[in-house]
Symmetry: C3
Subunit: 339 residues, 3 copies
């Protein structure tokens, strides 16, 4: 398979960049450290600025303030990472997916699959579900009853939409994700658990992306909702009736418990957790492995946990942590009670 080639001048014109230096042919992309003269690279993070001088890259996408330090050809961008993302997409090798239903797929008679949709091998589509034009249901996916896939959705492989899951347009879901499972609703009755029926569904907005093995439970009453352009990494857990605001991104292994509401443009770090029924306002950043234990009303960055230490030192600090109240009370003029 031959890789496509583009001239730097053509890329500049296509993406609104400024070419500095001679025009060159670009046949691929790579990091500053690895790029060859026929490849394009980028400098976005200042920590890699020192690699610019040694780089063999034929063309480098960078900011105006870094242009002087670049002795070869450069494409000057307001945001080099965004420009690089758009250029790199030209070199992405994507499978050609033909519309139609694979002969090994099992589609319920009451399902509606658009002729321009693609249902892959060994996938199944349940009763009353609808798949719009351009949507792709990859190999081994299970779409249950009463689901809807909007135009150009992509379930990559082995995705499960259990029931009552409605996807907007261009939603992309990675393998192993499970949407629409029953939320964890339990009531204790005479020493035995009773299931609280989970009657709602899941609604996913346009342009959302959901990572591998991520799980999103359906609502108990009403729906679990991701607004548009929410980005979830792998192995995330979203409880029933959660609502996540537009453009929020969550890193891997984070979790939001039932009925919590996360605002727009939030960034939730890897392994972080949000307790149930809390509200987090717009533009909040939670650092990795922090636990949100109260609602957040003010945008900003929030954290919990302790810093990494060598184990010997950590053991001493940890033992003292247990004594903290006693220690504080022994201070001259100490506050008698913690807040």
């Amino acid at each position: 398979m031959t890789m496509p080639t583009f001239s730097a001048a053509a890329l500049a014109s296509r993406f609104g960049l400024l070419l500095q230096g001679e025009d060159r042919q670009v046949a691929g992309v790579a990091t500053l450290a690895d790029a060859t003269p026929s490849q394009l690279s980028f400098l976005a993070n200042p920590r890699y600025r020192s690699q610019l001088a040694q780089s063999q890259a034929g063309v480098v996408v960078l900011r105006a303030e870094d242009a002087e330090a670049c002795t070869g050809s450069a494409l000057i961008a307001r945001d080099p990472y965004v420009a690089f993302a758009r250029i790199a997409a030209l070199f992405e090798r994507k499978p050609v997916i033909a519309p139609g239903i694979h002969p090994t797929a099992v589609v319920d008679a009451s399902a509606q699959v658009d002729p321009l949709a693609s249902i892959g091998p060994l996938a199944s589509i349940g009763a009353r579900s609808k798949v719009a034009a351009g949507a792709v249901v990859g190999p081994g996916c299970v779409v249950g009853d009463d689901c809807e896939l909007g135009e150009d959705c992509e379930l990559q492989a082995r995705v499960t939409l259990l029931t009552r899951v409605r996807l907007g347009k261009r939603v992309r879901i990675l393998p192993g994700a499970v949407l629409g499972g029953a939320g964890f609703g339990l009531a204790m009755d005479a020493g035995h658990w009773v299931n609280v029926p989970q009657l709602g569904g899941v609604v996913i907005g346009d342009d959302c992306e959901i990572g591998a093995n991520t799980t999103i439970d359906r609502g108990a009453l009403g729906d679990t909702v991701l607004e548009e352009d929410v980005r979830l990494d792998n192995q995330i857990q979203i409880g029933h009736n959660v609502r996540i605001g537009a453009h929020t991104a969550m890193a891997g292994c984070s979790a939001v418990a039932g009925s919590a509401r996360i605002g727009r443009h939030c960034l939730i770090g890897g392994g972080a957790g949000v307790l149930g029924h809390l509200e987090v306002c717009d533009r909040v950043m939670i650092t990795a492995m922090s636990l949100v234990t109260h609602s957040i009303r003010t945008p900003g960055e929030y954290s919990s946990g302790t810093p990494l230490m060598d184990n010997r030192g950590w053991r001493k600090s940890a033992a003292r942590f247990k004594q903290l109240d006693r220690i504080a009370r022994r201070l001259p003029g100490s506050e008698k009670d913690p807040e």
Copy 2:
């Protein structure tokens, strides 16, 4: 599809509740905030008491002490959440599943599938496995060799029972769960890992429920065991030879390492962890994202971690945490050593 309708008086009689006010027809359930006059709602958590006056719900299930504040029809229950769960189940829309083996399923010749069991599309059943009457193996499930499914078990979709997994009656397993994988048993020999064979199985008691993408390893010697009515949320990891007592519930993303034993009626919070070989007695509650580092012999609530703070304040506290032993030693008359 038409929704069923019930009179409040009929519900009172069926579930042993007391009707206050006029009898009304109920065609569905909803939250206090969302319910319409044809719907039933409930008040269990006192934090929602203020919503009672404004609610449009036709009927509200509530405690006797809240009845006076309810101006419309009410169903008075000792435990409104349990009563609501039972009523809501009447409105749950469940797929009708016919017994039999779907033509696309692959069933080993030595497997025994009861004629009243259902094996869904694209599922497979391995050698010597048994599926009892009323059990449902959903689309895309893989049941390996030497497994047993008790009466009325439900593997919803894309569940894997790898090998030697025995399920009691009415066990429900959500999509993506994996039971019976080899536990993480390793011995280091001359710089290279050697696998310790995992010869045991997994035994799941009656009425257990296992969430989406949860994993339960099989025992190394002997079995990994969940006693009856254990409830596991999504993305939980249970190591080999763990035993979990009856009626214990674990929230999403929690984990129990190999050979630990958890008691009965415990509640393990989301993201919490229990180290290997520990014992946790009955009626212990672990708060979210805590790590259990020693055995627990006394019922009660246990926690670790630090509270959420704005990042600037947290950085100061975190830096001081590293100095804690030094700080404690500088106190007048200080203890010389942490415990």
Copy 3:
């Protein structure tokens, strides 16, 4: 099915052990507490030494220094756990897997499957992928485009290799694992996320083992790499462009963020996290649920977090943690600034 039987003398000769006491027939393995006279057990962990006297085991594998305390037959080993692992493997019941492609599997015309490989029921193999001799692709697995499976690899069931995943020899992958999904690469452009194309692949070295529902993203530029004999437990997340050194083992639910590098012979505890772009040198041990927030240049053990406490005591310590900087400043002659 009859279990095989071995004499203790034959085991001693086969694995280079020393037989003490009379020769006995061994028909299985069990723990010291559970073993019968026809079974073999082992004593490796000193905490179980007290069980030796009461054990009914016919033969016990143990160290020379424990031999005197053993009144029955013993096999003396330098490392009893390794010797036990090798002996136990003789009793492992493994399915016999015939080579060939199951009639329900879907194999792309351009894929190359060795005649001595086995493709199980309801599996699919994508374009240009190669499966070497002895490799097993279990039921429900999805192998996408441009993947390679080395000799004797084992994808147990419902494993997904999405695209550009290359496995060395004898790689074993448990159910639900997803390799080769797009890494979480995002750039914010005018309030909307743009995907950064993930053009690389995943390279897994010989003898690696990957747990159930673990996810390993493909590289953005270049590959995500596991060197030989890396052992990953269940539900682990490995970000794009991570590199993990040979013989490193990671326990369940741990995670490594994008572009981090972990050394050789490291042990990463359950639920632990490593932030992106960090470097961890060889022979580092991270305790469970710790967060690695800076690069580690010195071998050793590292930790973060606080010890488990009863909730009442923990609340006091947690409240004081928030005041830590104030407390430290009130000490006589206190340091004015943390860190």
